[in-house]
């Protein structure tokens, strides 16, 4: 097969013509191969891998979501039972509330901090690259190290609190990640620390594209810095902001790593999130069918957000 591909690739145009003249059939075959078969041979490995790992199992999820599959053996069709169970599952309800809190925090804080930093950064001359590199460092780090680093900072033995307690603030002798009212927000802060730099870099790159003349004109009209931001910067980079918010809407429903590593949903389920519940059902309790149904619901949310975005764009919203 490889020799054949090579042979076809090395055929130059004149040979091709000669061949098709002398042996009409063979030439047509060659051209058919080159036009129809060869491109797909090049695509075959990647399509095969995607079907094997993602597409096939996704179709499987849709099927198993309607069964009582345990991961082994046969799967009995149980209709919508997994979905009705999911909507009544108190653990999923609590997890969903946490995901929504996570989402509300993510829709506000990272974009706000990132916008603020990007504006400040675009106003300075020296050190732009340095600051950008610093803010991007947590993005390239593994979430595992970031999660543990923050766990250390929160730790009752070698964190920030014992230091403050030693220096006279005894009322701070409390447990941080052990506190059900605080844990979710503290885990979120670690995730915010790791992620906001990514939005910052996107915003900053978009701001570089805004023509200077716009600002010059605004300055002539007497606009102050805040007005320039509100009437020039924000509208100009709106597409980037929308994309960041779309990714936030999708990503906050899928939050997993930081919660899993830092608290595993505890204390007392106060940091449960949907992806963690799904993991527990599917891999701790081997309720594969039920786990698959939660996966399908999470994907429906992603698809809904994506289609909403594309639909609004098609309807002429400049998003």
């Amino acid at each position: 097969m490889l020799r054949r591909i090579r042979k076809i690739l090395t055929l130059d145009a004149s040979e091709d013509v000669d061949e098709s003249r002398s042996k009409m059939g063979g030439g047509l075959q060659t051209r058919f191969f080159q036009k129809e078969i060869l491109p797909w041979l090049f695509l075959l490995p990647v399509v095969g891998l995607n079907v094997l790992v993602m597409i096939g199992p996704s179709v499987g999820s849709v099927y198993y979501a309607f069964t009582d599959w345990k991961g082994l053996g046969s799967a009995e069709w149980i209709g919508l039972a997994n979905f009705t169970r999911a909507f009544q599952d108190p653990f999923l309800g609590r997890a969903l509330r946490n995901n929504l809190k996570w989402m509300a925090l993510s829709l506000f804080f990272p974009p706000a901090i990132a916008l603020f930093a990007a504006v400040l950064l675009s106003e300075i001359r020296r050190g732009q690259r340095l600051f950008r590199a610093i803010f991007f460092l947590p993005v390239v780090m593994s979430a595992t190290v970031a999660a543990r680093a923050w766990q250390g900072i929160y730790h009752p033995l070698f964190g920030v609190l014992p230091w403050l307690v030693d220096h006279g603030l005894e009322f701070l002798d409390i447990s941080l990640l052990g506190n059900p009212d605080l844990a979710l927000y503290l885990v979120y802060l670690a995730s915010l620390w790791k992620g906001w730099g990514f939005s910052m870099v996107l915003f900053f790159a978009a701001m570089q594209q805004v023509p200077d003349e716009l600002y010059d004109a605004a300055i002539v009209d007497g606009a102050n810095r805040f007005q320039q931001f509100l009437y020039i910067t924000l509208p100009s980079i709106r597409p980037t902001i929308i994309i960041v918010l779309i990714f936030t809407l999708i990503g906050s429903m899928l939050a997993f790593n930081f919660v899993y590593i830092m608290t595993r949903g505890g204390p007392n389920h106060s940091t449960d999130v949907l992806a963690l519940r799904m993991y527990i059902y599917a891999f701790d309790r081997f309720e594969a069918g039920y786990g698959a149904s939660i996966g399908v619901l999470l994907t429906l949310w992603s698809a809904f957000v994506t289609l909403l975005f594309l639909g609004l764009r098609r309807m002429g919203w400049e998003v």
């Binding site: 491109p39 096939g56 499987g60 930093a117 400040l120 680093a149 033995l157 070698f158 990514f198 300055i219």
Partner: protein, 274 residues
């Protein structure tokens, strides 16, 4: 906004505070990685008083990094090479050979990268178990190649599209064969795209925890990210060793990033903005 000569001291002060917020946790890991365990209790937040470099030896010997690092080098290397190979072939085909149905596939690769893992995770796990690919580095590598490939195909396709056809035409006039055109003209011109794909997939595989945690169980075949979480979960009070592990995991990625900043940021933001 860019009034020349206007002092921006306030900008630098606020950016400096944000930089401190960003860097302090990373600095802490570096500080604590060379302290004795006792010192992590007495001086957890400050500059190290002692320099105990044996921590790194212990991480290597006792915490299991002597196995985890070779494992991760294999996984990351094979993932990078695998993704580059399949994505270069596919990207070239979509950009230049224009197969029937190619546009549909291009849209798939655009969207396919954002398919949540939760959609295919459960059947994939039990399929892998049936195929004997759970607890196998190659089983994990196949997953990494597949999940990293949509973005890479999309990126390389746009690289190939943006190479002007003039170069090919000129080579053709000079009598080059199609194979020579691919090998001598297209590949060298697409090299920046290749570099981006290799760097980003290598980093993704090195940092990856979610799939590794589900698909690898035996300690001897754990990757660094998984070994790190498991070890530090068991011995969290050994904050010095946990930090030393964190440094060993983070340093390679950090060096790669700082050495190739533009490539990294451009590649990742393209992925985010597609």
């Amino acid at each position: 906004m860019r009034k020349p000569g206007h002092s921006r001291v306030v900008n630098y002060i606020i950016l400096g505070c944000l930089a401190f917020f960003t860097l302090y946790p990373i600095t802490l890991i570096f500080f604590n990685s060379v302290k004795t365990t006792d010192e992590t209790f007495t001086n957890p937040l400050g500059f190290p008083r002692t320099w105990r470099l044996e921590n790194f030896v212990e991480v290597w010997n006792e915490a299991g990094f002597s196995k985890a690092i070779p494992n991760s080098l294999l996984v990351s290397g094979a993932t990078a090479v695998g993704v580059l190979t399949v994505a270069a072939l596919a990207g070239y085909s979509l950009a230049r050979l224009k197969p029937r149905g190619g546009n549909f596939l291009a849209v798939y690769f655009l969207a396919g990268g954002s398919l949540p893992a939760q959609m295919f995770l459960v059947p994939l796990f039990f399929l892998w178990r049936k195929l004997g690919l759970v607890d196998s580095l190659w089983g994990l590598i196949v997953i990494y190649i597949a999940t990293n490939s949509p973005f890479a195909v999309y990126l390389l396709r746009s690289y190939f599209i943006n190479i002007p056809t003039d170069f090919e035409d000129a080579a053709r006039v000079d009598g080059a064969s199609e194979f020579q055109i691919v090998w001598r003209v297209m590949l060298p011109l697409a090299r920046p795209g290749f570099l981006t794909v290799v760097l980003l997939t290598w980093m993704n595989a090195w940092n990856e925890f979610f799939f590794a945690n589900i698909f690898l169980h035996r300690q001897e075949i754990q990757t660094v990210a998984l070994r790190y979480v498991v070890f530090s979960g068991e011995y969290f009070t050994d904050w010095a060793l946990t930090s030393a592990m964190g440094v060993m995991m983070t340093l390679p990625v950090m060096i790669l990033f700082l050495a190739t900043q533009e490539t990294f940021i451009e590649g990742m933001t393209k992925g985010g903005l597609k």
